[in-house]
């Protein structure tokens, strides 16, 4: 029996595919899914012949990001200050998070995110940590963390789309579609939804079977070289800091300075009216300023 419930892992010859498998939750990432994802990556690393990993989502979306239900989310959401955690727990959470994401970016195989539907928050972080993102034109990218009072967790945005666009997206929680994501350099390419699977398969087999002279070994060498260029530009230092700041931002007092929104409190609304209403109320005030594209699949 497969050890995985929240993902599916298939390895066919040189290509491994991880499918996020909580379609009824739009593949929201909870602790269980995260643990299985990391486990699967370890398993693939041990399969020496596997050279390419495709990560995709089952159902209507790639992933809507962190599971916000508050159940089984202690690894994906910072410690809740209401539970009176010790300070060390915050730093330990930030540290684990930093090492986890950093290790996915530094994964020793060629990783491709195959994105359709929503790709938000931690889902987007996961895609950004892959070496390539190929998406459908109607896919929707964004990190709405700021709308719940959280700082963004992943500094890769600045590396991918530059400082100005990063601020425009993360300081507003704006969403962009696949075409715009391609234009600003967030993803490698956007293709029509019906061509997505095929394009990714072609990309994967090219990497796995044609490759370059020297094949996978040269690819591995280049990837390590590429990583050190990021290190020299300070990526890990920035990442550590943004993990800490993401965690720190959990200390937000919702009642402070929410002028015009009557003290929007995500946790309180979730408790009183349920998760769906809370998410809707979170995004509603912004829709007239930053219209949200809608994926065809949802």
């Amino acid at each position: 029996m497969s050890p995985y419930q929240n993902i599916k892992l298939t390895i066919e010859d040189k290509i491994a595919t991880i499918t996020l498998n909580r379609p009824e939750k739009l593949n929201a990432i909870n602790d269980a899914l995260l643990a299985e994802l990391m486990q699967a990556l370890k398993e693939i690393e041990n399969a020496l012949d596997t050279q390419v990993v495709i990560i995709k989502g089952k159902g209507s979306s790639f992933s809507v990001g962190q599971d916000l239900s508050g159940v089984d989310t202690s690894e994906v959401m910072p410690p809740d200050p209401r539970g009176k955690p010790y300070e060390s727990q915050f730093y330990e959470f930030a540290r684990r998070q930093f090492h986890r994401w950093r290790s996915i970016l530094d994964y020793p195989r060629f990783t491709i995110a195959q994105v359709h539907g929503y790709c938000l928050g931690a889902g987007c972080d996961l895609a950004l940590c892959c070496q390539t993102i190929i998406a459908s034109e109607d896919a929707v990218f964004g990190d709405p963390s700021i709308r719940m009072g959280f700082a963004p967790a992943n500094p890769l945005w600045t590396w991918r789309v530059g400082l100005k666009k990063t601020k425009e997206l993360l300081l507003t929680g704006k969403y962009v579609d696949g075409r715009e994501a391609e234009r600003i350099g967030l993803i490698m390419k956007a293709v029509p939804l019906e061509k997505l699977e095929n394009t990714v398969q072609t990309e994967a087999s090219t990497k796995a079977y044609s490759g370059t002279i020297g094949g996978f070994d040269l690819q591995a060498a280049w990837t390590q070289n590429h990583q050190s260029v990021f290190e020299l530009a300070g990526l890990s230092a920035a990442w550590r800091l943004s993990s800490n700041l993401y965690t720190l931002s959990a200390f937000q007092r919702p009642e402070r300075s929410y002028m015009g929104r009557g003290g929007f409190n995500f946790y309180k609304i979730r408790q009183e009216k349920g998760l769906k209403v809370a998410i809707k109320e979170r995004d509603k005030p912004f829709e007239s300023y930053f219209p949200k594209p809608k994926p065809k699949t949802t």
Partner: protein
């Protein structure tokens, strides 16, 4: 509210609107304006009623940059060799300048520059130190400082647009159109002139709904990526080097902006400064 003469500062719906207000001088920045900006940033940063700041220019341009008249410009321009400042005093002036740009860049509040017309020199630095820069399609971005022997003081530019384009601007005097600025990552958006105000207002209103604590932390987190790449040390280094540049021995026949200004007047001196250089596309 403080009584400003060179800027206008109004707060409306949790948005702080700052207008550079020397339209007859195309909003050239002199020491008085600089002090008012310093004071305004300090007040605005602590003001819980202000969620986001917008900076724009009155009249025909955002700002043509440092006031080059030599009157009331000791602070905005690097110390003139004529002032014969001690090394220590020059160094202090250099530190104040790089600290000012870093302070604006790292202000604990989101900032938006609304740019139209000329956006040059220190005007460019101000517009780019803001988090978001939105421009109308008639805007022009450039920095002619080197033509006067003044070192450009904005190392962040290289991180925004890359080394090649930075060289084109600073060494060759290339001016960027709004469209080119958008494509190169220098600014967020170039919009039609008639839509600029609406676009900026929309952005500012949207941001003003967010939690100010979260905005401060998020901005810090994003700027951390720049800090990790060394923009802080680069800023300090640049302002140090600008001192050396002021104190260098001039070569025979070298264009001396201050002498030309004394002899010909400001406008003719600027003309003489730009004359040897062909217009670049």
């Amino acid at each position: 509210m403080a009584n400003y003469k060179n800027i206008i500062y109004e707060i409306k719906d949790n948005i702080g609107w700052v207008t550079l207000n020397r339209p007859d001088k195309l909003n050239a920045i002199n020491d008085d304006m600089l002090r008012e900006l310093d004071n305004m940033f300090e007040l605005a940063e602590q003001d819980l009623d202000v969620k986001v700041l917008v900076i724009k220019g009155a009249g025909k341009a955002f700002s043509v940059g440092q006031d080059l008249s030599g009157v009331g410009t000791d602070e905005i321009l690097p110390p003139s060799p004529r002032r014969r400042l001690s090394s220590k005093a020059s160094l202090e002036a250099a530190r104040r300048r790089n600290r000012r740009w870093e302070y604006i860049f790292n202000l604990c509040k989101p900032t938006i520059a609304q740019v139209h017309g000329n956006c040059l020199g220190a005007g460019l630095y101000l517009a780019l130190a803001c988090d978001l820069t939105i421009a109308s399609d008639d805007a022009v971005f450039g920095d002619p400082s080197l033509r006067m022997g003044i070192l450009p003081e904005f190392p962040l530019l290289a991180w925004l647009v890359g080394v090649k384009r930075t060289s084109a601007m600073l060494l060759c005097g290339k001016q960027f159109t709004a469209r080119e600025a958008e494509e190169s990552g220098m600014i967020n958006n170039a919009v039609p002139k008639g839509k600029l105000q609406a676009e900026v207002t929309n952005m500012a209103k949207g941001i003003s709904l967010l939690h100010s604590d979260a905005l401060a932390v998020a901005k810090d987190s994003i700027n951390a990526a720049m800090e990790a790449r060394g923009v802080g040390p680069a800023w300090k280094f640049t302002s140090d080097v600008s001192l050396l540049m002021q104190q260098r021995t001039r070569r025979p026949g070298e264009f001396n902006f201050e002498n030309a200004r004394d002899k010909l007047g400001l406008e003719a001196a600027i003309e003489a400064r730009d004359k040897p250089f062909p217009e670049l596309d």
